[in-house]
Structures are given as structure tokens and as C-alpha cells.
């Protein structure tokens, strides 16, 4: 196992609205004996600005992030889209600035999504967790298409004791979040979320999980409005045990 | 070159960061039009054994079947004629009430001697002779069109029909039923081989690839044959006995 100290890159939505996801990640790292720290100056990676076309504002966020995380050994984040932002879009933001460009590339190379880090970097496929019940998995777009991560979360899920993984139809179809899209075009966004939720309900699973809290927040928000009885959990919570505490 | 063209291409050069007024000519970019060496492909086609040809026929039939091409393998022109005669007898005209048939001016179609075969029936057989001024009217009146495509492509079940004197394009288009007669040795494996043969031809003015009968799925994705072109395509593959080793007159393969 790598002795590297993991710097936690906690997506702003996790920090502010879903801190239990961050805690769950800590629980998993504790169980596995992985050392970690948390640069508390972190705010937002800049993705909302980037996706809305505000690349200069996104670049300011990128500078802030790079300054903060530059001296870390390895960066791990419980969000595929944020990792996609850092890895693939940060360098694009500095094509006219060679020094920043190479700093961005260097940061990108050591930034990993949570399940990707466990499976690909540490070769851990079983974290010794238990979660009793049927679970279905949503493939977030930037995670699956942007980073090519689809097998890693699945192998981790299959190795959770008591968990039955039921694949939903079109698991890799977008849930309709899309950042500011969800607020600017709510009718379309909600229609897409409904489609996703119908596919989730069709599996009969009591829990839906994923690796990206943004999508899960969208799914949760719509499930809550439709008053459906499905739990929405970040994969870190399942890997940490059913309560989000120690397994 | 007209003024418009010079201006238009100048705009493109500007867009590409080139000097707008200095024309770039083909000879300066030999690689742009370079095509891979096809000697090997040509040799492969030329060196095919009868057994290999028969394999390609099998593939064509299988792929053609899923595209609703109705295929028949025959050993002689007489057997081919029998298939055609049977089709003419059994099918009914779509747009009028008389049985007119038109065929390309091609030796394999002439060899059918269709004009001899309908002495006592109301069937009129036309040939699209180059000199005949009434070919178009005859084609419009015909319910069956017979052609002899130059190349068949097994992989995509495609018939490649060149437009040539005595072989106009409407014969395989206007009649409700298209019958294609093709010698076994004219079937190649795939489009790469077919394009290789096409590249070698001098006069390539107009041609068409035909892979099955006309179809549409525009109404609720419901597949219907015969949107505008022929609603049936029959392929008669002529495999002469020197190689076929079979004297069975006809094999219904579709």
C-alpha cells in the first residue's frame, strides 16, 4: 500500500451540504490506515464558472486551488466532475501561460477520484464494509466519460457484505444536473431527473449510489419532491458502513 | 476559373492562414490525393478460386437475405431465364394493367432470350437500346426491370450498377421489381475490393450502389418496402457448371 498522505479535496457541495460524505471517506481511510490531511483553505474548484463559460473566473479558482494543493503528495476527491475539472480543464485554462500550464498538469496528474484511488492506485477492491440491501449505481457523466471510471466503483460495491448490486437501465445517461443548466432550464432538467428516477425505481433497489454528490443531490432533490422511498447515498457512505460511521 | 470561384477559394485560404491570392495547386500536394497501393487487393481478386467465389456467394446470400434481396443461384442462362419467366408470370403490375418488362442491353440479359418465351401471353419485353428514343416511356410502363450489375459486394450485399450506353439508370429504379443478373465471378468480398475495381475504370460518370429494395421507416419507424424505388429486388447468380459441379437448375436461396 502506498504510504502517501492523502490530501482531501472536499467538493464544495460535500463540504457545505453533505459533510457526512467527507466523514465517510475519512472512516474508510482510517479503516485502511491511509494517512490524510485537509487543506482548510479550499473552497470551490471552479467548475460552475467553467461550465458556464466564465473561464477567467474559473482560472482564478484554479489558481487558488493550485496554490493550496501544490505541495501535497496526492489529492483525493469524492467527486468525479471536480477531478475531471482539475485534471482535464485546468490545463486548458492556462494554454497562454506556460508556467501555470505545467503547474496545472502536475496537479492534475496527482488528483484522483475516491474509488479510482482505492482501486487503481492502491489495488484495494474490498474495504471490509457491510451494507445490507439492494443498491443501484448511477454513472455520473464526467466520471464515466471524462475519467473512464465505471468498473472501480462497481467492484468496490460488489465486495460490500450484504449488498446486492442491481444495474438500472441507462445507468450512464445524464441525470439532468448540468450545473447552472439545472436552474436555467428546470423543465428539461427535471424531466431528465424523472427518467433517471424511473429507472432507479424500476430496479426495486432501496438505495441509489454514485461517486458524484452533484448528481446525487439532483436525484435526491427530485426523489424527495416525488416522495419516493429510495435512499440516496454517496458510495463513500456505503463503503464506510450503513450508518456512515465505522463498519 | 470564374471570379466567384477565385474569391470563394481566396476566402478559404484566408481562413486557413494562407495567402488569399496565391492559388494552391494539386501538384504541390501529392500526398493529399495519394491512395494506398492496391496491387495486393487486385491480385487477391484475380486469384480467387471457385471455392472461394462460392464462399462469397454464400456470404452475399446471407447478408442479402437480411436486406430482403431474394436470391437465386442458377447454372445456366436457360435456368436464369426460367426464374425470370416465372417472376414475370407470377407478379402483377403495380401502376398499370399490362405486363411490360425492360432489360439493359447486356449479353447476359440477351442470353435469356426472353422475347421467345412469351408467344401466347400478353407480355412485352423491351431492351433499353441506346438508339431507341422511347426507352424512358417503355421504362415507365414496365413493372420489371432487368439489369446486369458490374460488381457485387458480399459483405454489404451491394450491387454496383454503372450507367453506360444501353444501360440507363432508370431500369433499376422505376419498375416495381428489379431483377439483377450477376456472374459469380463478379462478386467481391467487401467495399474495399469493390472500390479498388472502380478506381481502375476510365469512365465513371454515374453509378449507384444498390443494397436491397427501396424502403422507408418514416411512419412510426414501421419498415415498409417500396417507398419510391423497386419494392422487390431479385438477384440471380449465374454460376456456370464448369465450376459449380451441380446441374440443379435453380436454388431458391431467399
Amino acid at each position: 500500500m502506498s504510504g502517501k498522505t492523502v490530501s482531501l479535496f472536499i467538493q464544495c457541495l460535500v463540504d457545505t451540504m453533505f459533510p457526512e460524505t467527507g466523514e465517510a471517506m475519512i472512516t474508510v481511510f482510517d479503516k485502511l490506515g491511509i494517512p490524510y490531511d485537509y487543506p482548510t483553505g479550499q473552497t470551490c474548484c471552479g467548475q460552475p464558472a467553467f461550465n458556464s463559460g466564465y473561464t477567467r473566473d474559473a482560472a482564478a479558482a484554479a489558481r487558488h486551488f493550485i496554490d493550496l494543493f501544490e505541495d501535497t503528495e496526492v489529492i483525493v476527491c469524492p467527486s468525479g466532475s471536480c477531478v475531471h475539472m482539475v485534471r482535464h480543464h485546468y490545463p486548458e485554462l492556462f494554454t497562454d501561460d506556460p508556467a501555470m500550464h505545467s503547474r496545472a498538469l502536475a496537479i492534475g496528474a496527482k488528483t484522483f477520484e475516491f474509488t479510482q484511488y482505492l482501486v487503481d492506485e492502491l489495488n484495494i477492491t474490498d474495504v471490509g464494509a457491510e451494507y445490507v440491501g439492494a443498491v443501484t449505481y448511477h454513472d455520473s457523466c464526467h466520471l464515466s466519460r471524462g475519467l473512464g471510471i465505471a468498473a472501480q466503483p462497481r467492484v468496490l460495491l460488489r465486495n460490500i457484505r450484504g449488498l446486492e448490486l442491481i444495474e438500472m437501465k441507462d445507468s450512464d445517461t445524464c441525470c439532468g444536473f448540468g450545473g447552472t443548466f439545472s436552474v436555467n432550464y428546470p423543465e428539461i432538467s427535471v424531466a431528465m431527473a424523472d427518467e433517471k428516477i424511473d429507472n432507479i425505481l424500476a430496479t426495486g433497489a432501496g438505495t441509489v449510489t454514485g461517486c458524484d454528490i452533484s448528481c446525487l443531490m439532483n436525484i435526491l432533490g427530485r426523489i424527495s419532491r416525488r416522495q419516493k422511498d429510495v435512499k440516496v447515498r454517496h458510495i463513500a457512505q456505503l463503503l464506510a458502513g450503513p450508518t456512515g460511521g465505522k463498519a | 476559373m470564374d471570379h466567384n470561384q477565385a474569391f470563394f477559394l481566396g476566402n478559404i485560404r484566408t481562413a486557413l492562414g494562407e495567402a488569399p491570392h496565391s492559388e494552391r495547386v494539386k501538384s504541390m500536394f501529392p500526398k493529399l490525393f495519394a491512395s494506398p497501393d492496391t496491387t495486393e487487393i487486385r491480385q487477391k481478386i484475380a486469384g480467387r478460386t471457385v471455392a472461394e467465389q462460392d464462399e462469397l456467394v454464400e456470404i452475399f446470400l446471407k447478408n442479402g437475405n437480411s436486406l430482403n434481396i431474394c436470391s437465386h443461384i442458377v447454372a445456366s442462362s436457360d435456368a436464369a431465364a426460367a426464374v425470370v419467366v416465372e417472376l414475370i408470370r407470377s407478379k402483377e403490375p403495380e401502376f398499370n394493367h399490362t405486363k411490360h418488362v425492360i432489360g439493359h442491353d447486356h449479353p447476359d440479359i440477351a442470353a435469356l432470350q426472353l422475347w421467345k418465351r412469351f408467344n401466347r401471353e400478353a407480355v412485352t419485353v423491351h431492351t433499353a437500346f441506346n438508339s431507341d428514343r422511347q426507352v424512358q416511356e417503355k421504362t415507365i410502363a414496365s413493372f420489371i426491370g432487368i439489369t446486369a450489375p458490374t460488381i457485387g459486394v458480399a459483405d454489404s450485399a451491394t450491387l454496383i450498377q454503372l450507367t453506360e450506353p444501353g444501360r440507363p439508370r432508370s431500369t433499376s429504379l422505376l419498375p416495381s421489381i428489379h431483377i439483377a443478373i450477376m456472374r459469380r465471378e463478379h462478386i467481391v468480398a467487401d467495399l474495399q475490393e469493390a472500390y479498388t475495381l472502380l478506381r481502375g475504370r476510365a469512365h465513371l460518370d454515374s453509378l449507384v450502389f444498390i443494397s436491397g429494395p427501396s424502403k422507408t421507416a418514416d411512419i412510426e419507424a414501421h419498415m415498409v418496402h417500396g417507398a419510391h424505388g423497386p419494392r422487390e429486388v431479385h438477384l440471380i447468380i449465374l454460376a456456370e457448371p464448369s465450376a459449380a459441379g451441380s446441374d440443379a437448375a435453380t436454388t431458391e436461396a431467399a
Partner: protein, 484 residues
């Protein structure tokens, strides 16, 4: 509400359309992805993409060669810089030949340049001959899919339309309806004075345009009338037959999962004098209409590699819900969302630039792997900061201002943290029993009109870290190691 959202709402409210879109995407979107995954020659898509880009870089040479070869056969070639140039030329050809009826093969560029109204104004009857386009024309509607234009109509609507317009007995049987159109259109096709088509792919080396169709209407329109005018977007060209072979196969696979469409016809000039059919005049109109501007911008040049198969429509989750009409353009779906603003104005079509989730499915399915999501983000950048090159002004100053504030906040940790605390105080009144926020004002209502929102947590992760983990982590790290 903007027109895009309005049209989207209409589409969402139509169960018929929703069902059709599902069927379409389940079959063709998934089918194409499976085709690409199982294709023997995994390099083919990359190779064709490369050749498309290479050909764009040498477009002037290819077009000159195409024109030379077509003219050598006696065909006329006209280079039209604008839509109006193309219309004027086509009208002149029609007048010179005393054309009364034009039959059309399905062509998107004809819609892009708006030639139908121009011909009709001149007293010329224009007949669409693709069955789907014909139905659309009879209904006075607009197509909603590149390949399946009347996907938004069901058989009952079409049956009623035919009963009304063609004077036939009502039926909703697709074969009967198709046969009725076949008969009706055959008369038109046999008596038309001019055929008007697009061009799927021209080949410079041999001097041909090629057209693909399953119905045979395009063959009819290019065989029976004495005049054929082909409208070609200037980028629809390959250098060699070898490139044509691979490109056309990707086109028909992407469009309808076919190894080849039923017909691929090659035409390179008028038919010879003794040919009983084929056009006696052949005119190729090569159209720029804004393409050179796209070619000039390295950020967007790639979009000209598009071969218009429409596969991106068959997978896009947004198109899959809203259909084609919301795009209000000849080109819909992801490709339309990029090409329409570039051809017709970024500000004018701002909603097309912004109305996607950037999920990336369109890039995956594209036979030539065009990075449409990247270009959508680039278009949004023009809207965010304005662009002289694209004659674009800032789309939403309030939003821009918002992101400036956002930048100030997220680059200043103490300010960010204080604002979170203030937000936590203010949100209290909105939190419902289920610990969710279910109504908010202003733009945030876009979220809560259809969804609940979790509130800012009682303690953020950062606060929890300070309280629970920072010291423990420092003290307990070695111990945890031992526990393992």
C-alpha cells in the same frame, strides 16, 4: 420564458413524442454505440476524423479539383458565398429552364439557406419527396430529426393528414399510407422540371457528388427531371475514393446502423446526349454561408468535420426529452446546438449554447469523434465575455456580475466561510419538516420548482474537521496503522 424552454415544455407534454424519442434513442443511439464497440477496425473512426481535418486544411485545393472534374464532364459549378447567392443562382437556373415544378431530395442545406420560399415566391411548385419530409410539407410543419423528420407525428395524425390532403379514405396503416405517397409522388417525380438535392459527400479526385437514401427518392429526383441542381456545404468533400469508402460507411452506420444505405448514388455531371434519362443539365452549387468563418477559428474548425449522420441526436439526453423543434433551426440536437449559433449568431441562439448538460454522450457516439461539449463550453465563453471575432455581446450581464462576485468569494477563504455561516442563518425559515428546502425565490426557484434542496449542514465538513479530525488525525495516525 425563452422560446427554447417553451418549445421544450410543449415536447415534454406530448406523450406521443416522448414515446417516439425513447424508441428512437433505444434503437439507434444504443445501436450505434454497440456498433462502434464491436467494429473490427477500431482505428477507422480515428482515421476518418484525421482525413476530415486534413481535407479541411486543404479545402481550397479539393474544391478546385472537384470543380475541374465536374466541369470536364460538362457540369456547371457555382461557388456561392452567401445563402442569397445560392438562391439567386438556383432561381436563375430554374427561370432559364422555365421550371414549374421542383422535386427535392432531403437536404438540410436547402433548409439552411431557405430556398423553398424563394422558389415558391417565383411561382414554382416545390415538392419534398422523402416520405418524412413530404408528410411535414403536407402538414405545414417543421422537421424534428435529421434522419427521421416526422418523428413527432403518429400514424393517426398522418392518416388524417393524408385523408384531408390527398382525398383518400382514412387509414392509419403505415404500408397503405406509404403506398399512397408512393403513387402521389411518382407522378410528381416523373413530371418535374428540376431535381434539387443536397450532397452527402463529394469526391474531389473523381469529381462526383454522392447521395445516400433508402427510399430511392433522391435517385428519382436526380434521374427523371431534365435539370439537377445539387446544393453542397463546402466542407462535405473528401479527396479520394479511398476516403469516400470509409467516410460513407461511417455515415450510414451512424445514421441508421446500416453497412450502406439502400442507395448510394454517384453523379458527376449531366447525362450523355443519347442517355434516355439523367439530367441534361447538372449544376453543383458549393456554399460557404458562414463556413469559412468557422474554418478560420481553430476553436471551432473541428465542427466542419461533421458528416451529418445525426447519431448525436440519438443519444443526447436533452434532445431525447425535447425533440427537434425547440432548437428552432435546420440543425437540431447537439450538432445543431454548436453549428446553428456559429452559422446564424451566437447571441441569437444563446439558449442552444447553454441548454445542455455537457454530459459528453454526443462526443462518444460521433463517428468522427467531434468534441461537441468542448465547443459548447467555448460558445458559452463567447457569451460570458463577448467576442469581437464572433460579433457577440455579453449575454447576461447579471450572470457575469454574479460570477465576478463568486470569484471574489471563493478566492477568499474567510469571506467564503463567513458567508456560509450567514447563509445557514438565513435558510432557517425555508427548511421544512423533512429537513429540505422546497421553495426559494429568484433564479433559485429554478431548482425548487421541481426539486427539494438539502440545506447548508449544521456543521460543514471544514468545521467538523477542525472539531473532530484535525487533532485526532495528528495524534492517532500511527495507532491506526497498528490497528490494521
Amino acid at each position: 420564458m425563452n422560446d427554447y424552454s417553451k418549445e421544450a415544455q410543449k415536447a415534454l407534454a406530448s406523450p406521443r413524442l416522448q414515446a417516439s424519442l425513447h424508441t428512437l434513442q433505444d434503437r439507434f443511439g444504443k445501436g450505434a454505440m454497440a456498433l462502434w464497440a464491436n467494429m473490427e477496425d477500431q482505428e477507422m473512426r480515428r482515421r476518418v476524423k484525421k482525413s476530415r481535418l486534413k481535407n479541411l486544411e486543404h479545402l481550397d485545393i479539393l474544391l478546385a479539383e472537384l470543380a475541374r472534374n465536374v466541369r470536364a464532364r460538362g457540369g456547371k459549378v457555382y461557388f456561392a458565398e452567401t445563402a442569397q447567392d445560392a438562391i439567386d443562382y438556383t432561381l436563375k437556373v430554374a427561370r432559364d429552364n422555365k421550371v414549374k415544378r421542383v422535386v427535392k431530395g432531403k437536404s438540410m442545406i436547402s433548409m439552411e439557406i431557405g430556398i423553398d420560399p424563394a422558389l415558391e415566391e417565383d411561382g414554382i411548385e416545390v415538392v419534398e419527396t422523402d416520405l418524412g419530409e413530404y408528410i411535414i410539407q403536407l402538414a405545414g410543419d417543421k422537421p424534428s430529426h435529421i434522419i427521421a423528420p416526422c418523428i413527432h407525428m403518429d400514424r393517426k395524425q398522418i392518416g388524417q393528414l393524408f385523408a384531408e390532403k390527398l382525398g383518400m379514405d382514412y387509414t392509419d396503416d403505415p404500408p397503405t399510407l406509404t403506398m399512397a405517397a408512393r403513387k402521389e409522388l411518382r407522378e410528381k417525380l416523373l413530371s418535374a422540371d428540376m431535381g434539387l438535392t443536397g450532397c452527402n459527400l463529394a469526391c474531389a479526385e473523381t469529381g462526383h457528388i454522392s447521395l445516400v437514401s433508402n427510399e430511392g427518392n433522391i435517385r428519382m429526383a436526380t434521374t427523371m427531371p431534365p435539370v439537377h441542381v445539387a446544393l453542397m456545404g463546402m466542407e462535405r468533400i473528401v479527396a479520394t475514393l479511398e476516403e469516400h469508402r470509409e467516410t460513407v460507411q461511417l455515415l450510414t452506420r451512424g445514421a441508421a446502423l446500416q453497412k450502406l444505405s439502400t442507395y448510394v448514388s454517384f453523379t458527376g455531371g449531366p447525362s450523355s446526349a443519347d442517355d434516355p434519362d439523367g439530367p441534361k443539365e447538372f449544376h453543383l452549387v458549393i456554399i460557404d454561408n458562414g463556413r469559412a468563418k468557422i474554418l478560420a477559428d481553430p476553436e471551432f474548425r473541428e465542427v466542419l468535420a461533421c458528416i451529418r449522420c445525426g447519431a448525436c441526436l440519438n443519444i443526447c439526453p436533452v434532445y431525447g426529452r425535447i425533440g427537434g423543434h425547440a432548437y428552432n433551426s435546420s440543425y437540431c440536437g447537439p450538432i445543431g446546438a454548436v453549428i446553428t449559433p456559429l452559422l446564424d449568431g451566437i447571441n441569437k441562439h444563446a439558449d442552444l449554447c447553454k441548454g445542455e448538460t455537457l454530459c459528453g454522450a454526443c462526443k462518444d457516439i460521433c463517428p468522427v469523434q467531434i468534441d461537441l461539449p468542448r465547443m459548447l463550453a467555448a460558445l458559452r465563453q463567447k457569451l460570458a465575455y463577448a467576442s469581437d471575432r464572433w460579433d457577440t455581446r455579453q449575454h447576461n450581464p447579471a450572470e457575469a456580475y454574479g460570477f465576478t462576485i463568486w470569484r471574489l468569494i471563493i478566492t477568499r477563504k474567510p469571506l467564503y466561510r463567513s458567508l456560509l455561516k450567514i447563509g445557514r442563518l438565513f435558510q432557517r425559515v425555508f427548511i421544512k419538516k423533512n429537513n429540505m428546502i422546497s421553495s426559494m425565490a429568484g433564479i433559485a426557484s429554478g431548482w425548487t420548482d421541481g426539486r427539494d434542496l438539502p440545506p447548508i449542514a449544521k456543521k460543514t465538513f471544514t468545521e467538523l474537521w477542525e472539531e473532530k479530525y484535525r487533532n485526532r488525525q495528528a495524534a492517532a495516525a500511527p495507532e491506526t496503522e497498528e490497528n490494521q
